[in-house]
C-alpha cells in the first residue's frame, strides 16, 4: 500500500475510533491546509458526511480570505460550523500590535482563552444558520469532551511527543511527562468524568505528505497558499500581524509539491513565518500545555 494511502487509512481509523468512543465530539478547523485535509479525511471516514461540528476560533485578525473560504466550504459541504471568539479582549483592546499586549499574550487571549471557553461552552458559540447564511448563538452549550485537532509530529519539538489520543484535564492541561501508553492501534478512550481528550489523526503526516494528498485528492484549499502574482505565498496561515509570507512563485498545488521536493525549504522550519514561535525557548510549549494548538 502506498504511503499516502497508508497515512489516510490510519487517520480514518483514528477518526472513526474518536466518533465511536467520545460523546461530545468536535473538530477544530483553523482553515489551514492541515485541518482542511483533516476535514476531507472525515468525509472519507464517514462516507461523505461530517457527523460532528467544526469549531473555528476567530481572532478577528485572520486574513479575510480565510473567513470567506471557511463560510463557502461550510455552506457547500453543509457543515455544522461553530465559531468562538474572545469578544471581551477585543472590545478592551487587549491584543497585538494595535492593542496593549505582546505577541504571546495576544495568542493566549485570542486563541487559548477563546478556545478554552468555547470548548467548555462557557462563552457563547456562534453557529452558521444554513437557511439565512448568518451566524446565530448556538443553543447547545454542552462542553465538547473530544476535540479533533490537525497537529503533526514534525511541526515542532513538543508536537513530536503527542499521542493520537491525548487526555487533557478539566483546565486543558497537558501533562507531557505522564502520558498514557498507546500501542497496537489501541488508544486511551476511557476517561474519568471531567477530563477531555484531544485527538490527533494527522500526527504521522509531514508537510510534503499533506500537499501530495491535497494534489492526489484535489482538495480545495484557500488560495493564500499560492503566489498570486507578487512572488510570495503563505506556507503557514495565521493572524496577519504575526504571519509572514515566504518568497515563492508556486501558483498551484503541483507547484508547491515540486517546490517542497526540490528542497527549497529543507532547512527552514514550516512555522518560520509565525512570529509567536520565536519569542523565547519553550514558550510555544507553554502555550500548548495551556491548550494552544
Amino acid at each position: 500500500m502506498d504511503r499516502l494511502r497508508a497515512l489516510e487509512a490510519q487517520s480514518v481509523y483514528i477518526l472513526r475510533e474518536a466518533y465511536r468512543q467520545l460523546e461530545h465530539l468536535a473538530m477544530l478547523w483553523s482553515i489551514g491546509k492541515d485541518s482542511t485535509v483533516l476535514l476531507w479525511l472525515a468525509k472519507k471516514a464517514f462516507f461523505g458526511h461530517v457527523p460532528f461540528p467544526l469549531v473555528h476560533i476567530d481572532t478577528s485578525f485572520k486574513l479575510p480570505e480565510m473567513i470567506a473560504y471557511r463560510d463557502r466550504l461550510a455552506r457547500e459541504w453543509k457543515l455544522t460550523m461553530i465559531v468562538g471568539q474572545n469578544t471581551a479582549a477585543l472590545r478592551e483592546n487587549r491584543s497585538f500590535p494595535a492593542g496593549t499586549l505582546d505577541r504571546i499574550s495576544c495568542c493566549r487571549e485570542l486563541k487559548t482563552e477563546a478556545l478554552r471557553n468555547t470548548l467548555s461552552g462557557e462563552w457563547p458559540r456562534l453557529r452558521l444558520d444554513h437557511q439565512t447564511g448568518q451566524y446565530v448563538k448556538d443553543a447547545d452549550a454542552r462542553p465538547y469532551t473530544g476535540v479533533i485537532v490537525g497537529v503533526r509530529a514534525d511541526e515542532e519539538g513538543s508536537r513530536s511527543k503527542e499521542r493520537y489520543f491525548s487526555p487533557r484535564t478539566r483546565d486543558n492541561d497537558w501533562d507531557v511527562g505522564d502520558q498514557p501508553p498507546e500501542f497496537w492501534n489501541q488508544y486511551k478512550t476511557d476517561f474519568a468524568p471531567g477530563t477531555h481528550v484531544r485527538v490527533h489523526p494527522l500526527l504521522d503526516w509531514t508537510e510534503l505528505a499533506i500537499w501530495e494528498y491535497i494534489e492526489l485528492e484535489s482538495i480545495p484549499v484557500v488560495d493564500l497558499y499560492f503566489d498570486r502574482g507578487a512572488g510570495q505565498r503563505y506556507r503557514s496561515l495565521g493572524c496577519y500581524p504575526c504571519t509572514q509570507p515566504v518568497e515563492s512563485t508556486a501558483r498551484t498545488v503541483s507547484d508547491i509539491v515540486r517546490e517542497l521536493r526540490t528542497g527549497k525549504f529543507v532547512n527552514i522550519a514550516e512555522r518560520a513565518g509565525r512570529a509567536q514561535d520565536k519569542d523565547g525557548g519553550g514558550t510555544l510549549e507553554q502555550l500548548r500545555r495551556d491548550g494552544y494548538m
Partner: protein, 611 residues
C-alpha cells in the same frame, strides 16, 4: 526557539519508502546522542541549529551534547533524560526514516512501549563500559513482545574502553545469549562512539578490527515488512453507519482490513455471532467504484441481507480459516499499570475493535523482563513483569493466535481508565469452569433445615422464573411488564416486577459513574437478583432494553438455577432461538400481556390455573 523540527524527507515524493526505527537501551547509554549524531551526519538539522545549541551550552558553561538537540521539552532538559518518545526525521539515499527516541528509565516503560510499538525495526544501544544493564535486557524483551522482528545492537562509547575489541566481543556474546533465550536473533552488533561519530555514518579509524557495516548501512539493510499473502480475510468491524438524517439510506459496515482480501459476492461471516451474508458493495467517498477490499484499507461495505452486526465483531470470508471464538484466552502479558494485575478484579479487555469485561483467571508463569528469572507461584502480576495468564471474558470474543495473525492476535487491558497492559495470544484454552457458575456449590452448602424448593412449589403452585421483556422501545416493554405483574397478582400469584428505574436508583446507583461496565454489571446484578427471587419462589419480571444473544446467554448463566424466559418485542439484536415468545415492537399491550400470560400457563410456570 524550537529545538528540532523540519523533516528532511522533503526532496522526493510519494514513491519513497519510509521506515520507523526505534532507539532503545538503558538510561545514559547514549540513545539521544546516537540520534542527534545521525541527524547531524545526514545533514538533517535545520540550518544553524547545531551552532545555536552549541552556543546555548557555552553560555551556560555546559559541555555540548547531541542529546540537547532532541530533548526539546523543558522538563527533559532540566533532568537530562528522555521522558517521552520523540520523533525525528532523516533520510539516506535509500529511503526516509522516522527515528523514535524512547526513554531508557524504567519508570517510563509505558512511553518506551508507545514508541517502540510504532517501529518496524530497533537499534538497541549498550554502553561498552557499563555493559548490559537492566533496561538493555528489558527493552530487548519488550521489543520482541511488541512484534519488532529486526534488531541491531550498538555497542556505544567504545572510546571509553580504549576501542578494545575484547570488550565489544564480551558484550556481543553475553547479549546474544540473552536474546537467544527469548528467541530473538539480532541482525548485527556494531561497535560505535556516538559522540565522535565513529561507525555511524562512516567507518572509524579507531575500529579497524571491525569488518562490518556502519550504523547507517545496517539501517539501510532493514527490510520493509511485507505482509504475508493469502492470509484469511480479517476485518474487525469498527462501526455500522447509517446517516439517514442526511438523506443517506446506506447501511455501511465500516472497518480496516488487517489481513487478506474480500470480493463483492463472497459470503462474509461475522464472529463471534456467526451471522453471515454476502458482501453487496464496497463504499467510499470520492473514489472510483470497486469490487474488492484489501489489506490495510480503512473501508466500508454494504451487505446483501440486513443481518445485525455489532462493532467489535470480526468479518471473515466463508471457507477461509475462522478465528477462535470463546470466553477464555491464554496470553503472554506485559504489565505497565501502577496497580498490579490481580484476580477477582474487573478489567476491560480491548482486542482490535472489540471491548469486553474480563477477569484474570490464572497466572502460570511470571517473568522479570530484565532478568528472565521466573516465578510460578503467584496469582498476580506486578508492574513491568511479563506473565503467562488466562483471562475469562464476560461475553465470548473472536480472536486469532498471535503466531498466525498479529492484528487480531493481541489485546490491551484497561484498568481504571488507563491502558495498563498488553497481551499476545498464545492459545485457546477451551472451556473452563466459569467465574459465573456458582450455583452448585451454593446449593450443596444450604443447611437442611431450610424450606426446600419443592415445599415452596407446593405452597405457591408456581415454578419460580425470571421473565425478561426485551426490545428497543423501553416505555412499551415496561408498560407491558407492569400490566403482566398486575394480571398475575390479581390471579393470586406471587409475582414481582423489578422496574429499571428501581434498579437505577438503588442496587445500580453506583453504576452511573461507570458507563463502561454498566451493561455487564446490570446483567450480573439482575441475574443474581433473579436467583434470590427464584429461591423465594417468586415469578420475577424484568424489562431490559435490547438484549443481544451473548447478553441473553450470560444472563441465563448467572441466573441459573433459576430459569430465564425471554420475550422479545421487535428486537433484532437477539437470535429468535433465545426467545420463548417473539412479538412485534408495536404489539398491543393488552394482547401482548395475554400472550405472555398464556405462555406461562402453557409452560406450567403457573399451575392449577383457573380462568
Amino acid at each position: 526557539m524550537t529545538l528540532i523540527s523540519t523533516p528532511v524527507s522533503l526532496r522526493e515524493g510519494r514513491g519513497r519508502e519510509q521506515m520507523n526505527v526505534v532507539i532503545l537501551g538503558h538510561v545514559d547509554h547514549g540513545k539521544s546522542t546516537v540520534v542527534g549524531r545521525l541527524l547531524a551526519d545526514t545533514g538533517s538539522l535545520p540550518e544553524g541549529k547545531l551552532e545555536q545549541v552549541r552556543r546555548t551550552c557555552q553560555a551556560n558553561a555546559k559541555p555540548f551534547e547531541y542529546a540537547f538537540l532532541l530533548d526539546a521539552l523543558k522538563d527533559e532538559q532540566s533532568q537530562g533524560i528522555t521522558i517521552d518518545t520523540a520523533r525525528c526525521f532523516f533520510k539516506t539515499a535509500l529511503r526516509d526514516y522516522v527515528i523514535i527516541d524512547a526513554p531508557g528509565h524504567v519508570e517510563f516503560l509505558k512511553n518506551m512501549v508507545t514508541g517502540a510499538s510504532r517501529a518496524e525495526a530497533a537499534l538497541l544501544v549498550i554502553d561498552a563500559k557499563e555493559g548490559i544493564q537492566e533496561n538493555s535486557r528489558r527493552h530487548g524483551f519488550m521489543a520482541s513482545m511488541l512484534g519488532i522482528r529486526q534488531l541491531v545492537v550498538l555497542v556505544n562509547k567504545m572510546d571509553l574502553v580504549g576501542w578494545d575489541q575484547g570488550v565489544f566481543r564480551r558484550v556481543e556474546a553475553e547479549y546474544s545469549a540473552f536474546l537467544a533465550e527469548i528467541a530473538v536473533r539480532p541482525e548485527a552488533f556494531v561497535p560505535i562512539s556516538a559522540l565522535g561519530g565513529d561507525n555511524l555514518a562512516s567507518a572509524s579509524e579507531h575500529l579497524r578490527w571491525y569488518p562490518g557495516l556502519t550504523v547507517l548501512q545496517t539501517i539501510d539493510r532493514f527490510e520493509k515488512q511485507r505482509p504475508a499473502e493469502h492470509q484469511p480475510f480479517r476485518m474487525p468491524v469498527q462501526a455500522v453507519y447509517k446517516f439517514t438524517e442526511s438523506g443517506d439510506a446506506r447501511r455501511i459496515v465500516a472497518g480496516t482490513v488487517v489481513a487478506g482480501s474480500a470480493q463483492v459476492g463472497q459470503t462474509l461471516v461475522f464472529h463471534p455471532s456467526g451471522k453471515r451474508t454476502r458482501l453487496k458493495s464496497v463504499e467510499g467517498f470520492a473514489e472510483p467504484a470497486r469490487t474488492s477490499i484489501g489489506l490495510g484499507e480503512a473501508t466500508g461495505v454494504t451487505l446483501e441481507q440486513q443481518v445485525y452486526v455489532t462493532p467489535g465483531e470480526i468479518a471473515c470470508v466463508e471457507g477461509e480459516a475462522p478465528p477462535e471464538v470463546g470466553s477464555f484466552l491464554r496470553a503472554s502479558v506485559f504489565w505497565l499499570g501502577r496497580k498490579p494485575l490481580v484476580q477477582g478484579k474487573r478489567y476491560k479487555l480491548k482486542l482490535a475493535t472489540a471491548a469486553t469485561t474480563a477477569f484474570l483467571r490464572q497466572v502460570s508463569r511470571v517473568v522479570d523482563a530484565s532478568e528472565l528469572s521466573s516465578t510460578t507461584t503467584r496469582s498476580h502480576v506486578e508492574r513491568h513483569e511479563v506473565a503467562d495468564c488466562v483471562f475469562e471474558t464476560v461475553r465470548p470474543i473472536a480472536y486469532d493466535l498471535a503466531a498466525t495473525q498479529l492484528d487480531t492476535g493481541r489485546f490491551v487491558i484497561v484498568d481504571d481508565y488507563e491502558i495498563a497492559g498488553g497481551g499476545i495470544l498464545l492459545a485457546n484454552p477451551g472451556e473452563m469452569r466459569s467465574l459465573f457458575d456458582h450455583s452448585e456449590s451454593e446449593a450443596n452448602a444450604a443447611p437442611s433445615a431450610r424450606v426446600s424448593r419443592g415445599e415452596r412449589l407446593a405452597r405457591l403452585r408456581q415454578q419460580p422464573k425470571l421473565v425478561v421483556l426485551t426490545g428497543p422501545d423501553r416505555s412499551s416493554i415496561e408498560h407491558i411488564a407492569a400490566r403482566l405483574e398486575r394480571e398475575l397478582f390479581a390471579s393470586g400469584r406471587f409475582v414481582y416486577f423489578v422496574a429499571p428505574e428501581q434498579l437505577r436508583s438503588g442496587l445500580e446507583a453506583d453504576l452511573l459513574a461507570q458507563p463502561d461496565v454498566r451493561r455487564d454489571e446490570h446483567l450480573r446484578r439482575l441475574g443474581e437478583l433473579a436467583r434470590l427471587f427464584a429461591d423465594a419462589g417468586c415469578v420475577l419480571i424484568a424489562a431490559t432494553e435490547s438484549l443481544d444473544t451473548a447478553e441473553a446467554r450470560q444472563l441465563r448463566r448467572i441466573a441459573a438455577p433459576s430459569e430465564v424466559l425471554l420475550v422479545g418485542l421487535g428486537d433484532e439484536r437477539i437470535d429468535e432461538a433465545e426467545l420463548a415468545l417473539s412479538m412485534e415492537r408495536a404489539e398491543d399491550p393488552v394482547a401482548a400481556t395475554r400472550r405472555i400470560h398464556g405462555l406461562l400457563v402453557e409452560q406450567r410456570v403457573l399451575q392449577d390455573y383457573e380462568i
